[in-house]
């Protein structure tokens, strides 16, 4: 059975420290000025003292129904056998349809390769060596989980079964494979 790679981002554990961002950059040689991954610390929302930040992971959502793939005129954007949204650099003509079509605004033109680029869960680098993606490896507070959701014994499959999660912009029908565990504010005034 093919794999169904998913990422789970636990927003309770995320501290917005950008260790993931730097690890991604370092492993995948992401050039200056563009980014495959960052966590945006948004807010604070609410009224003092009941404020909270939102820790929003911004990266390719690995959509099962990916707009970037359907608009690509040359077949450069494609979904591989394990469901990873991928790019044939040599087929990319730089038309930027995919950049415009991505509802998550996470595709960009790589100034070195001149092809469209984005997070691919480190498929060419760490995954190819049997390692976890760079962001997961680095995350100081263990806020990221990665694995094959088709394997019922995997940590991610169990997490998806036992934790409340949400995905971004599901109303668009993109079926993203990045899941988020929402922040749960703790009890106050006992």
């Amino acid at each position: 059975m093919s794999k169904r790679y998913v990422m789970v981002h636990d927003e309770n554990k995320c501290i917005g420290c950008q260790a993931c961002n730097i690890a991604c950059r370092s492993e995948n040689e992401v050039p200056e000025g563009v980014t495959r991954l960052q966590v945006r610390v948004e807010g604070p929302f609410g009224e003092a003292p009941n404020l909270h930040f939102k820790y929003h992971r911004v990266s390719c959502q690995q959509c099962e129904d990916a707009p970037c793939v359907s608009v690509c005129p040359t077949g450069a954007a494609y979904i591989d056998e394990n469901g990873l949204v991928s790019i044939h650099n040599d087929k990319c003509v730089g038309c930027m349809y995919c950049v415009a079509a991505c509802p998550y605004k996470v595709r960009f033109m790589n100034p070195i390769t001149k092809a469209a680029d984005k997070c691919n869960f480190c498929k060419d680098t760490r995954l190819a060596r049997g390692e976890q993606p760079a962001c997961v490896t680095a995350c100081p507070t263990d806020a990221l989980y990665f694995g094959d959701a088709n394997d019922s014994k995997s940590e991610v499959a169990q997490l998806l079964n036992t934790k409340i999660t949400y995905q971004d912009k599901t109303h668009l029908g993109t079926k993203p494979r990045v899941y988020r565990v929402p922040t749960k504010r703790g009890g106050i005034e006992s």
Binding site: K13, A19, S26, V34, P44, P49, L51, A138, I188
Partner: protein, 760 residues
Amino acid sequence: MIELNRRHFLKGAGASGATCALASTLPGSLAALEKSPLKGVASEVASICEMCSTRCPIKARIVDGKNVFITGNKEAKSFGGKVCARGGAGHSLLYDPQRIVNPLKRVGERGAGEWAEISWADAYKEIATKMNQIKQQYGAETIAFSSKSGSLSGHIFHLAEAFGSPNTFTHASTCPGSYVVAAKAIFGTKMKRDLSNAKYIINFGHNLYEGINMSETRGLMQAQMDRGAKLVVFEPRFSIVADKADEWHAIRPGTDVAVALALCHVLINDNLYDHDFIEKYVVGFDEFAAEVQKYTPEWAETISDVSATAIRRIAHEYASHAPHAVVDFGHRATFTPEEFDMRRALYAANILIGNIERKGGIYMGQKAPGYNKFAGENVAPALAKPGVKGMPKPTAIRIDQVEKQYAMMWSNGGIYQTILDATLDAKPYQLKAWVMSRTNPMQTLTDRAKVEQSLKKLDLVVSCDLYISETAAYADYILPESTYLERDEEIQDKSGKNPAYYVRQRVVETIGNTRPSWQIFKELGQALGLEQFYPWDNIQTLQLMQLNRDHSLLEHIKKMGYVSYGKPLMLREPEMVTEFVKAYPNAKSVDADGTYASSMSFKTPSGKIELTSPKIEGMAPGRGVIKHRDVQLKQVDELYFIQGKVAVHTNGATHNIPMLANLMSKNAIWIHPITAGRLDIHSGDAIRLTSSVGSEEGTALVTPGIRQDTVFAYMGFGSKNKELVRATGKGIHCGNLLPNVIAPICGMNLHTTGVKLVKI
């Protein structure tokens, strides 16, 4: 917050591209060298990070000969094999074209930014000639030596000792000094906190989710997530740790001591304290209990703005989780001139619930010699200390050795800022020169204008650094140190609950003409004619001396990078003691209660925990008992100005590193919406802050995450020298707004002051 970050991110990316041409004109920089592929020394090397002072164990791998990928070393369990953004960006420092890779000599006025390359031999010769001249004319003590405390600081201080100067300084009085000195006054030793096992944690602005210390950051998150610990945060700003807390109380800046004492008041008056523990192990309880009678929660509320109801409730909740509960004693300990009693009050709240040497409490730690004694066998090798015989004894007093109240600091890093008074006002005598290593006092000492005047007045300023930092910009000579990825160092003791060692090793061959600072200060010592004090050739000789020439042990430590021995031991934790005794048949016999409690030894005059200290009373009459004293941190028409750490930068050190500068190159000023509304200030507006010593222009960030009477900025930004191209002129320079203060007993400088805010 993030909108600004994002904008800066994009701007930063553009700016660094535009500055390449400028940087290439900087003599001695890496840009002047031709770029060649990196040569790694092994496929994967275990080492120690140096992007901040936590010094996490790392593993580094060369990727395609042109990049280094850094992760944590999984051998160190509490660090989890993780690195933060700074740690991961080490290769960005290594490869930075603006890094200095050849010795430089000033050719224009001091601070004018005119440099010429010089050979190591000539630099040593010229510096040594000048130093020896100063020594002959004015005395060796007129040269001050300072260094960021850490792995190689011992080498510059060895040079100072050999040369005959008592004036050595670390950054202690600008950061951790007071919690160290307070612990030594009470316990006779430094203390560690066992956050990961705590069930209730009270935190006074120790922002472990931005000032990342990997094992403690992870410990705090594990306590919260895996053990359901409750976290209560008192902090004037809504920081990340405040966000992750169960409760955030926006305490008035600098009034933490009042809340801590009120917590102690409730613990004592509501009879929530551990009578048995106090009776057996603590002296001075009665004096303390009498003193805290007046520190009611209602009193504390009037000072701190934390409600009395909350203080009472928190004290009860905290005590109900005893002993597996902790009051965090903090890290950047520069909130108030009453730092010493603030930190002592935080320790007192721990002592009262008897969490000493208990899981989730605070503990002393186990190094090899003590641990082996408990075990009755040699579980862990003890490190030898290769001393040098016949070191000269300085005849002069230290410049901070005037008042006896500071006596504890003389051997704990000194009072760094006394260099300013000694230089500018000859107090207690005139300094003539300053030799420094990996320290950036223009950023980290307060009152920048005074630091600049001092640097300009001295006869000789020498700086060993990676960049032309804001301070190095005023040096006569810059001696470029190799980065940590290019250095070998001595073995470090990393013991916690059980003994552990780790070691820094070079990952790549040295780029350019840099040297490790142990070598720089050895060679400078030789140029000074002090070769008899350097009986070692290199780091490997020193490592072998440390390990009593045990080659295989050295190889083992180098291969693993981090080696720990034995089982974790906290002396009053019955489970741990039982496991320990089971593992070591010759272990010391346990007390009737199944612990080693009676074996706790405190290096205080009484041998016990000194809640009230006759020794401190002797040093500074009236200060033996922990007390609250009124302090004025601002004028009535001013706002409090406070600072803090951000997860992507380290103090005054990392702001020019390309990857980190791209993440964040500016610090906006956090202003409460009501305060901003009164002055018609909106996010993104240009504003000016003016304090008693300086004025800075910056950008407003209007946010409810700050008190109305307070403004906040992340520290370390706004460098003013032209050489740090990515950092210079970006954001506000906090040190330029902070007055030069020396706090009683602990000698701390102060990071809370008053400022006036205007829109410009």
